[in-house]
Symmetry: D2
Subunit: 223 residues, 4 copies
Amino acid sequence: MQAYVYGSKRELPEGFEDYVSRKNTAVISIDMHEGHLADTPDCPCPTPRARDIVEPLNKFHRAARALGVPIIHIRSVLRKGGVDDINGIPSAWRRTFPLYVGDIPNADEHAIEGTRWTNFVTEVAEGDLIVETKKRLSAFYPTDLDFLLRNMRIETVIFDGGFTDCCVLNSSFDASNHNYRVVVLRDLVRGTNDEMEDAALKIVSLHLGLVMDSADLLAAWRT
Amino acid sequence: MQAYVYGSKRELPEGFEDYVSRKNTAVISIDMHEGHLADTPDCPCPTPRARDIVEPLNKFHRAARALGVPIIHIRSVLRKGGVDDINGIPSAWRRTFPLYVGDIPNADEHAIEGTRWTNFVTEVAEGDLIVETKKRLSAFYPTDLDFLLRNMRIETVIFDGGFTDCCVLNSSFDASNHNYRVVVLRDLVRGTNDEMEDAALKIVSLHLGLVMDSADLLAAWRT
Amino acid sequence: MQAYVYGSKRELPEGFEDYVSRKNTAVISIDMHEGHLADTPDCPCPTPRARDIVEPLNKFHRAARALGVPIIHIRSVLRKGGVDDINGIPSAWRRTFPLYVGDIPNADEHAIEGTRWTNFVTEVAEGDLIVETKKRLSAFYPTDLDFLLRNMRIETVIFDGGFTDCCVLNSSFDASNHNYRVVVLRDLVRGTNDEMEDAALKIVSLHLGLVMDSADLLAAWRT
Amino acid sequence: MQAYVYGSKRELPEGFEDYVSRKNTAVISIDMHEGHLADTPDCPCPTPRARDIVEPLNKFHRAARALGVPIIHIRSVLRKGGVDDINGIPSAWRRTFPLYVGDIPNADEHAIEGTRWTNFVTEVAEGDLIVETKKRLSAFYPTDLDFLLRNMRIETVIFDGGFTDCCVLNSSFDASNHNYRVVVLRDLVRGTNDEMEDAALKIVSLHLGLVMDSADLLAAWRT
């Protein structure tokens, strides 16, 4: 069983079997919606690097479903009128991220309910689960994800999806604090840039859980 | 007003005044206790880099107090017998961090109530506040920190202290999600190594809040 | 200013003005949907007493809106397939309430997303807000209500709607713990029976907030 | 197996075995401290009715320990200076309860850390657990109780202790929402008066869990 420890792929010693058990495990796919992934100038919060993983994600999710592992899709949805963000207490990223990337033209439309920006671009199959009151960075806050996982008696969560150094990292912190075993799939997450992706995965590997390739996880699930 | 944007110190545009207002602001100092900082072989979770900031932290806290800004000291405290960690559901770091740094000899004693490992090494003054049910990585979980901040009507939190890429970063995510304005003091936090410190501060600057030097924050507070 | 103290309507002394200020106040209307209120044999969780307050509620909400007080409608919504209730860890009421009232024929359909049972029977106006991940008894858990109220800078909540001795009482406990001022409108809530309604309102009046008639609250708001 | 359904003791049908399994069960004893129970004029929040259950509680706890069921003692502890209550956002009960019982002379001292008012009057044995950041009415908020129970893999909670219609009822709502099975021990809780005790136990029996006599629970545990 192999995982990335501080960026280097290594054979792990014994004692990590609970991370790669299919039992009590769910895949959590974060924010793979048009608001991040649309390849149009009005995309309100573009994460173009994540477009490359749409098909690989679909493929991995199909394999997981075939093995009986449930898929939970997370999406950010904000109320019309901005009451829970731009006209309430604005998200920090709206203020800080433009200092680095410059103005984000259509950012006010990000995640607004009833717009195309909340449509998933990855496949959502019959039987998949959706959590959609994410309003900031964590998949857990303020959502019913922890409640759902407890009802499902989940103990291990597998993260894939968008913004390795932001929502994926934050969700990994939360999942770890809530005593779930955390696996982040190195080939199925994307972040701000190479440096931040690499750094976020190192942080996960040090403090939060395992960083694995999806092929290795599938292989472990199948044995 | 200057802050570090993705590692580069820059003059910020207008619009960040609420981050450097003394009003409704608290300093939150994370895990500056002997369990991380004791310079002895039995230190259960050593973060030796943070020893360098003990005196600078004391000095900054004195200046903050003089300006009427409250100081909240956070410490991890675990129950005797290990029921809420090693004999319950063990913290992820206990399993993953040794993959990188090797065996941590006395880790089982980390944060146990009634031991010297929970003693603060920084000064705690009359009137300072203490939050001490932190049991994993975030200062917010499972603690009464958010409850306390709401009672104090705090809107901006200033983080200093231990493990830039771990507890400080996690607490910054949580504070940001809970709609507090977040400032992390670049010269008054320490992490696993140079690379992780730098990366964690970049993540904060992109998504979570401002990364500032303490001298600049004090200067802003004084004007 | 008058309120019910342990069942008796009395003039209150000074010091309760923040409870009846329109400023930073929201009305929270709980579970006025067909799943409780439909007058058909397949109603999955009937609370017939609450049918009497549909029109009075609409009237009060119109008056509140005219005064600029926002209305937040709460509804329970459970996922198809029962993963977060009957096929997960079943709600306690599903097991205990039938001991008192007998079998509830269509209870499995209660609150299932996509069914008519989640339709509101009270008016929802443009500009009203909806919170709909309530899955057990409290309007706060596991929902984004607290997050929403903080973004709106709400300090006082006015409860009306269904099951005085259950969801209204539970939500009043939670709101009080979260440091909101709580008002329950005696004429605009209904419970299991006269005895439980009376008892729940007494409990609110002792420990949690004010029990008022809606006409008195409107009068206070208008002065 | 017998329990009180809306005030009447009855034989339950099959299907409630998980409520009376010793496995994954903990006893949670609420606020049996001098701040409520001291028989002196300066008792800051007197609940004199609960003095009668101190010895019965001790006896029940001894029997539970002998059967391997852990005891968790909850106590309210507030910071000196009143920052998290009277000088922050005051607890609702401080404002409403005096409307019914009149002025409470020493209420400002209630639960202040370092005073005698936080001393337990019931026995705390080696191996018992303590949760002590309760600051309002629920044993769960803002405390680490849920975190502790999850680490202990507890699924059923048995409540005893103080204020049937207040902290015990609130904690029962929270435990039920968090998907624990709830048992309240009718003979080992006390409330404001006979009427409120009776009402709160009826509410528990309808919506939240089982109301049992401690002797019946012990008998079930022993079979």
